[in-house]
């Protein structure tokens, strides 16, 4: 190999890039903690999430990068911005409650200790690293899906994914249950208004069709490439919320039958397929080999609807208007 010095140079080059990326990521993190105002802190957190998705690409995990970009940065950012704006009134008296010097020093000592312990464990990770990748590759033929992460999520550890959907639904029930009694069953959030010929209405008419195509593409491609129902569903949810924010459509009352059905279709299809595995196959959530890919796709299409609706409603918040208003 005559190229050896060259590859060494490009390796150090790549390392320099990684160090720069890590430094910029940490700038965002420092700022999300240290900024005085709440909104700048939230902006720092969103930038941090965006940069973290670069880190995930660099770590060879584009599936996670997609999730981080969609949920960790985008939707969490929108959620925090909304909450920060509503809490703005309460910011002034907060300044008084800053903890004393002793507590801050103790907190700093504790944080540095924890960070140092974690850093030491990074440096002392076993070599060669334990891995399940060969096992995942060996069994990939069972589902005939090309994306190993989809394989793990939908087949090898499908129970985790099913329970995760149920956690989402439980969170939504929790959010709804915070509504005052008289608003129960009503519509979440305020009714948004905007100039129907203004720029907001324009973008809410033009962007969602594009977003829906991208969202479904991300789901469809997840069989063989990075993607999935979750990442696609997040984009759909964002587009739905955009239409609501532009005042083009109102949020549905949370007691609406159609809405409840959409919320249930994903987990129910998942459960039916799982119980089918129990009845006709070996175990709960065991897919028959011949139909594995088809069944997984059916589950994913049902789930993208549920995920989009659940995420949209989680961000819209508890009902704030009386039923029939």
């Amino acid at each position: 190999m005559t190229l050896a010095p060259m590859t060494f140079a490009s390796m150090t080059f790549a390392l320099a890039l990684e160090i720069v990326l890590a430094a910029v990521v940490l700038t965002g993190a420092v700022w999300a903690i240290a900024a005085r105002g709440t909104l700048p802190a939230v902006a720092g957190f969103v930038a941090y999430g965006l940069l973290l998705s670069l880190v995930w690409v660099r770590l060879g995990a584009p599936d996670v990068a997609l999730t981080e970009a969609a949920i960790g940065s985008g939707l969490t950012g929108a959620l925090l911005v909304g909450a920060a704006a509503r809490l703005r009134l309460s910011e002034v008296p907060m300044a008084v409650e800053r903890p004393g010097v002793i507590l801050r020093v103790l907190a700093a000592v504790l944080s540095v200790t924890v960070a140092a312990a974690l850093a030491a464990s990074v440096l002392l990770l076993p070599d060669p690293a334990p891995t399940l990748a060969p096992a995942a590759a060996e069994n990939a033929a069972a589902t005939s899906l090309g994306n190993p992460v989809t394989n793990v999520l939908m087949a090898f550890r499908a129970m985790d994914t099913l329970l995760e959907k149920i956690v989402l639904l439980l969170a939504l029930i929790g959010v709804w249950s915070l509504a005052p009694d008289r608003f129960w069953g009503g519509r979440p959030g305020p009714r948004h208004h905007a100039d129907p010929y203004g720029v907001l209405a324009f973008v809410a008419r033009v962007l969602p069709p594009v977003g829906i195509i991208v969202g479904i593409y991300i789901l469809w491609t997840s069989a063989d490439n990075p993607g999935g129902a979750f990442q696609g569903g997040t984009i759909l949810a964002a587009m739905w919320l955009l239409v609501m924010m532009a005042g083009l459509a109102d949020a549905p009352p949370v007691s609406e039958r159609r809405l409840r059905l959409l919320l249930l279709v994903g987990p129910v299809v998942f459960l039916i397929v799982g119980l089918g595995g129990l009845a006709f196959g070996d175990a709960f959530l065991a897919y028959p080999m011949a139909y594995a890919k088809a069944l997984i796709l059916v589950i994913e299409f049902a789930m993208i609807l549920t995920i989009a609706v659940t995420l949209g409603l989680l961000i819209a918040g508890p009902p704030e208007r009386e039923l029939g208003s």
Binding site: V199, L200, F202, V203, V206, V210, V214
Partner: protein
């Protein structure tokens, strides 16, 4: 052929980086909000556009190439509307005492 494509990449990515630099300098140095906005849109539209152009020869397949162009189109559309919103916000802030 690959030599020509490499030159396209180097030229276009350098030009894109230049527009990013110009937009950032404008964002830092220009005196008021609307001129800063003007500088910013250069980085958005031209900077990213040229970067995409430069990366097209490296796209692995036709599908990847089309997706690259789609990214630019989405950013153009979103950037144009968000810039208008920023303009409204700037006017609202400006009219405040």
């Amino acid at each position: 052929m690959s030599f020509v494509l490499d030159i396209v990449t180097i030229t276009a990515v350098s030009a894109g980086a230049f527009f990013f630099l110009a937009g950032t300098v404008g964002l830092l140095r220009f005196p008021d909000t609307l001129t800063r906005l003007h500088a910013l849109t250069k980085a958005d539209n031209l900077g990213l556009g040229l970067m995409v152009l430069g990366l097209l020869p490296h796209a692995g397949s036709l599908r990847d190439g089309i997706k690259l162009i789609c990214v630019w189109l989405i950013v153009l559309l979103a950037g144009a509307t968000v810039s208008q919103l920023i303009g409204y916000v700037a006017r609202r802030e400006g009219s405040r005492p």
